[in-house]
């Protein structure tokens, strides 16, 4: 009984072996289909992996901040509507405009600070490993001497273009950076600053008048841990006495600095608990911050975290969650195009492959009507004839899968990198000349523009066949085999052995 049930498998194997030319033709067609599909799948996987690495290289951080797109629109509107205006008092939420003066229109932006209660809605997310609240302001002091900018760069000019001239600026003495945890401040995370003495500011320091100062500043003023310094807003407003709890060293060389303002020198940045900045800013700033940074347990969770955040009561018309999306897009843009193209390859080849193979099998079935008539006349079941054709194609499919596994990696790697190269070339050709303004990056009115040179666009992908890709290929391959075989084979069900054999005779 067993032999009776599987005889069509034996017959199929024999047929594949004995009908060498036709089997070889099918093998070539199927192998080409499989190689193209595995190339497409592998390129997609490699692109996903590259995107993930890019995401990880940018850090698994998400920042809750004022919606910068809205802010840019406000700038545009104000620049268009207000041709001339005198200088304005800088207050909380207002952006310092470096070009204030002759020939440059000042603008004011209502940069809505992030509310503490909004930020606190996100800290309990299961995706969050750590978080930091950041806010900063300009500080004024009479109790110590800030480090001065060298004379040749102490004046500010050249930004505003004709008429801007050179002029002295008073933009405060120091930058007061409020942190919930100072070890999570960008400078410390980037290793451009290192704590050399004392302790970092932590969440437990909330409400305390404690401060971290830079070593150069400390040396210049003979300050040490345990000493006290005073600083506050302009005209000694909201001035408080702060205890130095730590001294850090900035690794940024003065040669790297291009600031005309002493307050913007890294040596003149002091770190305090974030709520202390709000004290300096005044009552309006209570329980607010410039931004809240959330560190993910896994960079891959960024999207899930953002989705989760969207279900909270935070007003995402006003605020936004930024996961370095612009930089990320810059890095992975070309590779995503390649991924998209390769996805189309998979769809196209799957459909075209099934059609081509289906036609080949249909022709083969037409040629083999006689054989089928004989088998049906002997008493073979029709479904077993379909089974025989299916096994024949599956045998070919298995061989094709094996060959594509052995060769697909090389093809995919070559194809992927060639496509990426084309993307990079076409991307460069499409870039307008004016794109280079503001250093070729994103202009940010806060001055921390991100030149594209800082972003390493992914220009190479390492394409490898993963077990997952191969599994998917096998699934697609078998589906193609089944569809391409079963549909044409349905004609077998209509066959009448007498008609076949009488025509043959």
């Amino acid at each position: 009984m067993e032999g009776k049930n599987v005889n069509f498998i034996k017959r199929a194997l024999l047929s594949v072996k004995e009908r060498k030319a036709k089997s070889f033709l099918q093998l070539i067609v199927f192998t080409v289909i499989c190689v193209l599909i595995i190339a497409g799948l592998s390129i997609q996987s490699a692109a996903e992996k590259s995107a993930q690495l890019a995401r990880e290289s940018l850090g698994g951080t998400v920042t809750l901040q004022y919606n910068s797109e809205k802010m840019m629109e406000e700038i545009k509107n104000q620049m268009g509507e207000r041709p001339e205006r005198g200088s304005e008092q800088q207050g909380p939420g207002q952006v310092p405009s470096p070009g204030q003066g002759q020939g440059f229109s000042p603008f004011s932006i209502s940069n809505e600070p992030v509310k503490l209660k909004d930020a606190e809605q996100l800290i309990s997310s299961s995706y969050v490993k750590a978080y930091n609240f950041i806010t900063s302001t300009t500080g004024y002091t009479d109790s110590f001497e800030p480090v001065e900018v060298e004379s040749n760069s102490s004046s500010f000019g050249g930004f505003g273009g004709p008429g801007a001239g050179e002029m002295e600026f008073s933009m405060g003495d120091i930058t007061v950076s409020g942190q919930l945890n100072s070890d999570l401040a960008t400078a410390f995370m980037d290793k451009t600053a290192t704590l050399v003495e004392g302790l970092h500011i932590t969440e437990e320091d909330k409400g305390k008048t404690v401060v971290l100062v830079e070593q150069t500043l400390a040396d210049q003023n003979d300050l040490a841990v345990g000493d006290h310094i005073k600083f506050g807003a302009e005209d000694n407003e909201n001035e408080q006495n702060y205890e130095i709890v730590g001294i850090y060293q900035s690794e940024v060389s003065t040669n790297d600095l291009n600031t005309p303002l002493s307050a913007m020198l890294p040596y003149n940045t002091v770190y305090v608990p974030f709520d202390q900045v709000n004290v300096i800013k005044g009552d309006d700033a209570t329980d607010t911050m410039d931004s809240a940074v959330f560190y993910m347990k896994d960079a891959a969770n960024i999207d899930a975290f953002i989705e989760e955040a969207n279900s909270t009561s935070i007003d995402f018309e006003t605020y936004m969650l930024d996961a370095n999306n612009q930089l990320f897009e810059q890095m992975v843009g070309p590779i995503e195009n390649v991924s998209s193209f390769s996805k189309n390859i998979v769809y196209l080849v799957t459909i075209a492959g099934a059609l081509i193979l289906g036609l080949l099998i249909m022709l083969s079935i037409r040629e083999r009507k006689y054989e089928m008539g004989v088998l049906i006349a002997i008493g073979e079941r029709k479904w077993k004839l379909i089974g025989q054709f299916l096994v024949e194609v599956l045998v070919i499919a298995v061989l094709a899968l094996g060959i594509s596994y052995a060769t697909g990696g090389v093809v995919a790697d070559q194809l992927g990198n060639k496509l990426l190269e084309n993307q990079l070339v076409s991307g460069q050709e499409a870039q307008p000349e004016s794109f280079g303004r503001f250093g070729g990056g994103d202009f940010n009115p806060f001055g921390n523009s991100t030149p594209s040179s800082q972003v390493d666009v992914i220009d190479e992908i390492k394409v490898e066949i993963t077990p997952k890709d191969f599994g998917l290929l096998a699934l697609i391959g078998f589906l193609i085999a089944i569809v391409a075989t079963v549909l044409p084979s349905l004609t077998v069900l209509r066959l009448k052995p007498k008609a076949i054999l009488s025509k043959q005779d």
Binding site: M1, G3, K4, N7, K10, R11, L14, S15, E18, R19, Y370, E371, G373, V374, L375, I376, A377, I378, G379, E380, R381, K382, K496, P497, K498, L501, S502, Q504, D505
Partner: protein, 231 residues
Amino acid sequence: MSLLEFRDVSYWYDGGTLKILQNVSIEFEKGNFYTITGPSGSGKTTFLALASALDAPKSGEVLFEGKDIQKIGLGNFRNKYVSIVFQSYNLLPYMTAIQNVVTAMEITGSKVSNKKQYALEMLEKMGITADQAKQKVLTLSGGQQQRVSIARALSCDSQLIVADEATGNLDETTSAEIVKIFQDLAHVDGKCVIFVTHNNDIAKIADVQVRLSKGSVSVTKKNKKLQLSKY
């Protein structure tokens, strides 16, 4: 009870305008060598197709051991109860002689344990050597291929064997040998052999000669011991 019976069987084409068989009734028994003769277009092939369940009658019944073969199922009937030998042998060209026989045994669910050995014995009985049995059938002569097709039919051990012009492509000597085999299947092995032919010499030696003409049959019974010596 007869092994196979046609009861009021009619068959036509083109919606009844072309009548091939009209109310044909005839019985076939084990141990007899039957020939079906008749002029071209008389319905010999249709008759054989109905006897071997390659087709079903338009009206009437074909009974096997008293059961309507349509109730048995045409495919099931072909699989279990009948073996067919064709004029053009109808062997599977990509197989050897022995593979053709074994394939038929597997399809029909032969209970023989060593099918290959049994197939070889059947082939040798039909005059095919062991070496020839291992060759692709297309490398064999016409007579040898017909012997292979008979061996295939015999290996399935059906009680009913139908043959359609089984000697039509063979020379006289080989034909005589093949006909002798069929006669022996009937007379020695006790099978019911229905042999469609247009050769009167073969018809003359049949136990029962069935002649088809204008849709009806006439039956002539002969002496079983007659044998075809040469023609």
